[in-house]
Amino acid sequence: MENRAIFSGRLLACLLVFPQLAISLIFFYWPAAQALWQSFLVQDAFGLSTEFVWFENYVTLLKTPEYYHAIGTTFFFSLLVVFFSLAIGLLLAVMANRNIAGVQIYRTFLIIPYAVAPAVASVLFIFMFQPGLGMIARALQRNGIDWNPVLNGNHAMILIVIVAVWNQISYNFLFFLAGLQSIPKSVIEAAAIDGARPARRFWTIVFPLLSPTTFFLIVVNITYAFFNTLGIIDTATEGGPNGSTSTLVYKVFLDGKAGSDLGGSAAQSVILMIIVIGLTAIQFRYVEKKVHY
């Protein structure tokens, strides 16, 4: 960091950083440390005594079939969400990047989902997909599909994927649009003069130049699918039926709420923390690279 420090009032500087440091220490570092510490402890059934057991909680966790099931669910769910939200976002951004009339109006509509809370988005879609009364559910049923997300795990998964994708389109759209607009026009014009047709131009020039944005968005969207969809799941399916929509984060939430196995739940949290730290590290590596180019 460049040294711009110009004022030297030490006391004042300490006062200025104090609020943020205090809040970070109390509500961030302390809980994170607690989770780590808890994950090495086992509490007896009555909560009377605790014992330090090293990695036993992790070992137990990794022997539980449901845990693997949750991992599988998380990856499947994330894959679908990341793919569809990126593809749709990119498609819309490419179209909005053309010099056409009314782009502002389209953009205004397309950013609305960002403002809708995940839980509220769930409610909107539940209404459409509610068997018996929902508009889309009835249409499906008329066509011989026995749609019922409450009983059918696949249907439940489809429902939360749709909500999660819908909720995330705005974000990807805006970032892709910003990325597209930062590509110098002259490069694309040069490609046109070189005889590249629009589709070819997109895949050989635009898409490669957009790759930093795409990469950034992939990481952000994975993080989103992993962690920020809890409200969607809790409202739409509550992880059911039979845990078929219970992702890792949702499982931490459920197990923690049940409160029976503090150590095991802490171990789950720690594993999630490691995943986020990993994702964030990847993101920063990319940011750093971007600086060098």
């Binding site: 609020p19 403002a115 509220v120 950034f216």
Partner: protein, 282 residues
């Protein structure tokens, strides 16, 4: 741009119209449902145009809430959401601008250590450290309080990094000129830095207000009192997926009310919103 074909613009319009339809349809449907009678909706016979029960539904929703599932009027939920969202936005901006100011413009011991301590908080969303954070908040007797609702959610570095980034673009000479004009650090902050940061503050406010308004997990855990329930939590209690007797018109009116403030902000302050969104993510 490069194309001269006559129908070259048809495809983008079609795709964008389809996109807008997909995005807007669920919202439209919610608005329509909030104007119809419950029985019409429950039969699955709801038409695609507005009904005549709008005033009645919204009045009931805001003043008394859903009759069967919860007694809490949505009006008070809106209030709680508003206090939380503004609290988070203002709180986060306040602590961030101060710490960024210290980190960029002051020379003090452990400056880099302070920076990294704050920076690391970028890494863990509240979802993964939720229960230990809950416990701390409970130990501090902050359950069912706005401070408990707000403070843990403002412990994050995004805003600090944005301000830091912006402060680094301010020419050193401006600070020096200010010094020569006899301004000390506090005067420089209020006379120069704060006015220059207005756009950034506004953009950040838009993003953080939405972030705060849309919080789900934390308020769900931390509030047990009905009168502190935020609207995003309240709506979940109004609908019950497994129960066919949900009062859908009230639920949809609540959904519309829950969307209204953040959507209005995003649409009306679009320029600030886009700036805030793109810049907080670097």
């Amino acid at each position: 741009m490069v194309e001269h074909r006559r129908f070259g613009n048809l495809l983008p319009h079609l795709v964008l119209l389809a996109g807008v339809a997909v995005v807007a349809f669920p919202v439209y449907l919610a608005i329509i449902a909030s104007t119809h009678d419950n029985t019409v909706i429950a039969n699955g016979q709801m038409p695609l145009y507005p009904g005549s029960h709008a005033l009645e539904t919204y009045w009931n929703t805001i003043v008394s809430g859903a009759g069967r599932t919860t007694r809490e009027p949505v009006g008070s939920m809106l209030m709680a959401s508003f206090i939380m969202a503004v609290g988070i936005a203002v709180g986060k901006i306040a602590i961030s601008i101060l710490s960024a100011y210290a980190i960029v413009f002051f020379n003090f011991p452990f400056r880099m250590a302070t920076f990294w301590t704050i920076f690391v908080t970028l890494m863990l969303p509240v979802e993964v450290r939720i229960f230990p954070t809950y416990k701390i908040t409970s130990d501090l007797h902050m359950l069912d309080s706005y401070s408990g609702l707000i403070l843990p959610l403002i412990a994050s570095a995004t805003a600090t990094l944005l301000f830091r980034q912006f402060f680094m673009t301010i020419p050193k000479e401006l600070v020096e000129a200010s010094k020569m004009d006899g301004a000390g650090p506090i005067r420089f902050f209020f006379d120069t830095l704060l006015p220059l940061s207005v756009t950034n503050i506004a953009a950040l406010f838009v993003i953080l207000f939405i972030y705060g308004w849309n919080q789900y997990l934390w308020p769900l855990l931390i509030t047990t009192r009905d009168d502190m329930q935020t609207i995003v939590i309240g709506i979940k209690k109004i609908i019950d997926v497994k129960d066919a007797l949900t009062e859908w018109s009230v639920a949809m009116a609540t959904a519309v009310l829950a969307m209204l403030p953040p959507v209005a902000i995003v649409v009306l302050l679009q320029r600030l919103f886009v700036k805030g969104l793109i810049e907080t993510e670097k």
